[in-house]
């Protein structure tokens, strides 16, 4: 680690690094919270209000509201993951590369 000490100190003191991790951590935290709200919200809905989930989509239909909602949770899970990865792979990675470049790496 010794030959890196200078670059580590430089990165630590670079405000861009501080703002990058603050931004990324709050983004990851919000996304995690969203996922947990959607999933546990659905589970608690099942635990406490089965009747509502069994409501039919429309008159004369058999499909209940709970089914598109459940499939929606699956689709939401995929979409939220892809959205995070796209932002991290472009914006965050570019900023991290900039921080490394300024540290001479």
């Amino acid at each position: 680690m010794s030959q890196h000490t200078d670059s580590y100190a430089q990165i630590r003191n670079n405000p861009k690094f501080q703002s990058l991790i603050a931004k990324r951590n709050s983004y990851a935290f919000i996304m995690t919270a969203l996922m947990m709200i959607v999933y546990y919200g659905y589970i608690l809905l099942i635990a406490f209000n089965k009747e509502w989930l069994a409501t039919k989509m429309g008159a004369g239909m058999v499909t209940s509201i709970g089914i598109p909602m459940g499939l929606g949770v699956i689709v939401f899970t995929i979409i939220i993951t892809v959205i995070y990865v796209r932002r991290a792979n472009t914006e965050f990675d570019a900023e991290a590369a900039q921080v490394l470049k300024e540290a001479g790496k």
């Binding site: 630590r12 546990y40 099942i46 239909m61 499939l71 699956i74 899970t77 995929i78 990865v85 540290a103």
Partner: protein
């Protein structure tokens, strides 16, 4: 047909070898043996022949410990995403979830959602940090700034315990499945899986294991897509029409459109949800896949692809379950014991997807799906064995016993010896547990992963005040709590130990909500009480660890070939 003959023959040779080794194989397990299905056996033989050919190619590329553990770090994000999906889409999730939908409709959907929601959590919190800090195993990450011996010993224990429970469930599943899918004996399956899996791992290491997973994932996704599209085609691609027919013919009628008995009390529901959500982020065979890609960018792409494929697959299993309702119930003569619906499906409730494959694609497609279902177990077991072998050779042997002084050759040799030991152990345990109830084992593996491996990994990477003492003590406390509470729950206390119904001291379906919280609390408490010199040093190392985990500075790169 001529080229196929070779593969069929190689498959038969493998089967005969297994048969000769274990001639006395009469059994009375949980499934009933069906008529020998030669199409399925031939197709499985073709799969084995092809994957062994790939293993031969991979063997030429597996020269160092890095090749063995991580395929030299040269897998792309897309490939790794398919391989992760392959690791995760087990026979239990294919046959089990479609069987659950077939039996209860809606409730099957709840289960598949639970299996999926761990992936965003891995993506947001773990993927790039794992890739930036780790090299071969998740212990590299957990022990990054800590005393190696205690944290590695814990991580290796956590890995091996999870691998053992997961493996027993897979081996017993293989034995039960072969009776209904191929019409062969239980012990054949267990020995055959043991031998073929050892060949993949021993000779081809991570390269072969990854490609076996990719091939299997593509076959499974293709087969499941074909089935779901066939079903939707019968109803002009109208889900409403499919559901309407299912409600009409299913014995539970409209009840299959609403949540039933799966979620009983909210605490169990949340607890099972936590085990699935955070357990996924603590499974050693999944975590080690993050070291097979060259960068954090590719690691993130891997999870995005894996989540997409797994989510897509679960939507397919839901359609397949409903397709099975409408197709099988109307032809009881072909699919039910004695042609009577009351006596249940031939081969048991998990066979819904397999029977549906015959209904929509005839005997040839039935053979294909049966072969895929069995290949699934084989591939998952190979992945588990590889991660178990890495825990022993990289964490215990190279780091704990040799204090980091082992050469790559030594480490590789120990991995291979461990692979053989684990293979033999898997076969022995598979045979020992044949008549045992193993239904709780996969959930127990998830409970341990979320209560021991995940908290240690999370706190060591994200909390600066975490120390060796806190991580080790907290990790073991979580592990013991998860096992103890599972033993005291109805799934083991009543169903396995035979105590009277209602006597289980722990009333919930999963320990996760308690054992995981306890682990986090213990790590926190022991760490803040730790004022040793070592603890001060470890806290001082956090800023540098943070820089590496966030920027990838100094992260290990792909080995050059």
């Amino acid at each position: 047909m001529k080229t196929n003959t070779k593969y069929i023959l190689s498959g038969l040779v493998a089967l005969l070898a297994a048969g000769a080794a274990m001639a006395a194989g009469a059994d009375l397990g949980n499934t009933t043996k069906q008529a020998t299905n030669w199409t399925a056996i031939a197709m499985f033989g073709a799969f084995v022949g092809f994957t062994l050919y790939i293993t031969k190619w991979a063997a030429g590329k597996t020269k160092t410990a890095a090749d063995f553990y991580t395929a030299g770090g040269g897998i792309t994000g897309f490939q790794n995403g398919l391989a992760i999906a392959g690791d995760y889409m087990s026979a239990a999730s294919f046959l089990g979830i479609s069987g659950l939908v077939f039996a209860n409709g809606f409730d099957g959907l709840i289960f598949s959602i639970g299996w999926l929601v761990g992936w965003p959590i891995i993506t947001f919190l773990m993927a790039e940090r794992l890739r930036n800090l780790g090299k071969f195993t998740f212990a590299d990450v957990a022990a990054y700034r800590f005393a190696q011996t205690p944290v590695r010993s814990f991580a290796a224990t956590g890995s091996l315990v999870v691998v053992a429970f997961y493996m027993i469930a897979q081996m017993v599943g293989a034995g039960q499945l072969i009776k209904v899918l191929f019409g062969l004996e239980y012990t054949y399956a267990v020995i055959m899986v043991g031998i073929i899996m050892m060949m993949y791992v021993l000779f081809g290491g991570m390269t072969a294991t990854t490609w076996v997973q990719i091939i299997k994932a593509v076959m499974l996704l293709t087969g499941a897509t074909f089935m779901a599209v066939s079903v939707l085609l019968q109803f002009g691609f109208s889900p409403e029409a499919l559901f309407a027919k299912a409600v009409e013919v299913h014995s539970k009628h409209d009840a299959i459109m609403s949540p039933g008995a799966l979620i009983k009390d909210p605490i169990s529901a949340i607890s099972v949800g936590m085990a699935l959500m955070f357990g996924t982020a603590g499974l050693p065979h999944i975590l080690m896949r993050f070291f097979t890609v060259p960068s954090a960018k590719e690691a993130r792409k891997s999870v995005a692809w894996a989540t997409t494929w797994i989510g897509y697959f679960y939507i397919l299993t839901f359609i397949i379950g409903f397709g099975a309702i409408v197709n099988l119930v109307q032809n009881p003569g072909d699919f039910y014991v004695g042609g009577e619906i009351a006596k249940g499906l031939k081969g048991g409730g998990n066979m819904a997807a397999v029977h549906l494959s015959k209904a929509v694609g005839g005997d040839l497609f039935l053979g294909f799906i049966s072969a895929v279902a069995f290949a699934t177990i084989l591939a998952v077991v190979a992945g588990l064995t590889l991660s178990g072998a890495s825990a022993v050779s990289h964490d215990l042997y190279a780091t704990v016993f040799k204090k980091g002084q082992a050469t790559s050759e030594d480490e590789l040799r120990v991995s291979k010896i461990t692979t053989i030991c684990l293979g033999i152990l898997a076969v022995v345990l598979g045979i020992l547990f044949e008549k045992e109830n193993v239904a709780y084992m996969v959930m127990l593996a998830f409970a341990i992963a979320c209560s021991a491996n995940f908290p240690v990994l999370f706190m060591s990477v994200l909390w600066k005040n975490c120390t060796t003492r806190g991580a080790t003590v907290g990790g073991f406390v979580g592990l013991i709590a998860a096992v103890a509470l599972t033993v005291m729950s109805a799934n083991v206390w009543e169903a396995v130990l035979g105590n009277p119904k209602g006597s289980a001291p722990f009333p919930y379906s999963s320990p996760a909500i308690f054992s995981m919280s306890l682990a986090f609390f213990t790590i926190w408490l022991v760490s803040i009480l730790d004022n040793s010199e070592q603890a001060k040093k470890e806290r001082a190392l956090f800023p540098d660890q943070l820089i590496r985990s966030e920027t990838g500075l100094g992260a290990s790169t792909a080995s050059s070939h």
